[in-house]
Amino acid sequence: MASLKDLRNRIASVKATQKITKAMQMVAAAKLRRAQQAAEAARPYAVRMESVLGNIAGTISGGPDAPLLLTGTGKDQTHLLLVLTAERGLCGAFNSSIVRLARERALSLMAQGKTVKIFCVGRKGHDALRRQFEKQIVEVVELRTSKGGVSFADAQKIADKIGAMFAAGEFDVATQFFSRFQSVISQTPTAQQLIPATFAAPSAAVTGAEAVYEYEPGEAEILADLLPRNLAVQVFKALLENGASEQGARMSAMDNATRNAGDMIKKQTLTYNRTRQAMITKELIEIISGAEAL
């Protein structure tokens, strides 16, 4: 049976933990709002980019001089998996669910005899994959931007690296893994193919008969200029979704932790009070029986 002092200490420590988890939850809530705003602000750019690229790609993709970023190398022997995770833990299953999806994909590709290369963004994903896929990991980028969230320059750097690797013929297909933000309690780990680029067929409303564009310089040049930019935009979009998902996941994880700490405090306070009462009763009995003995 624990002594009263032990119980008191334990309650105090759980209370301290609860304060921390509560604070982390509130910080996550504030950051989530900012991350969501950032994701929203980036949407018009990505949407416009996609519609224009969709338009041009539709007219040119059949041609023999279509850029490789659009058509691919024609093989699918070497796969690059871009795994986007967070820098920090304590956010529920956020990191592990992205890693799990990537790991399953990597294993199934390897079982088919394909070569797999892994590009880790974020420390947590690297930590989790390092043991199993040491040989496959070709690049690690850590995002050390604690304030202000991710910037487009970060995405640009990652996209430049991927572009350079593709130009050097180091892989045929690139896929990125990130968590799509649905709501605070639900984030879906998602795989999205980056190279060869895929575009939703432009809807009739966008390509309507009147939209016969004039291109300057030619369509091919525009496409060659925009596809690398689109890569950066897609990575940026994924990073922003990830940022919002991470904060959402952390918020609900910390909410749970705070509630659990509350339950624990309640239970331990009850034990503490009972033990104290038992000791008082015991002491009283001792005094009374001592007095009676006289």
Binding site: A41, P44, V52, Y213, E216
Partner: protein
């Protein structure tokens, strides 16, 4: 004068949105002005100054990387960087030019070197134009 809707979008936010009478865009093959009712048109950008004319004094922004799309619904410019000239510091521009110079030196293959060299030249000429502009306005 007729106005048309114009949007200037950077990856991080919507920089400008509103009705304007004319926009002068630094296109890859030369500057062009867009007025209301322009034919559908897509052009890539070179680094330079974009001028928005509407109510009041024309607004000038430094833009680089991206494209402009004019269609019957209006004009949209997507730029990776869009900074109002008033907020653009000379050091910023100097740093961009230095980075571009390093890129040229780092280029391993000839076509990449050529394209980066061209980018550097465009950037330097944009910087010169901005400097001249600043002298006139002071």
């Amino acid at each position: 004068m007729a106005t048309f809707p114009f949007e200037l979008v950077s990856p991080e936010r919507l920089v400008y949105s509103g009705a304007v009478t004319e926009v002068i865009v630094p296109g890859a093959e030369g500057e062009f002005g867009i007025l209301a009712g322009h034919a559908p048109f897509v052009s890539t950008l070179k680094p330079g100054v974009l001028t928005i004319k509407g109510d009041g004094a024309p607004k000038k922004l430094f833009v680089r990387g991206g494209f402009a799309e004019a269609n019957p619904q209006g004009l949209t410019v997507l730029a990776e960087t869009a900074i109002p000239l008033a907020e653009l510091r000379a050091e910023n521009l100097a740093k961009m030019i230095r980075d571009a110079q390093e890129d040229v030196e780092d280029a391993r293959d000839e076509t990449i070197r050529a394209s980066r060299q061209q980018f550097l030249e465009q950037l330097t000429s944009a910087a010169a134009a901005i400097e001249a502009d600043a002298r006139i306005s002071h």
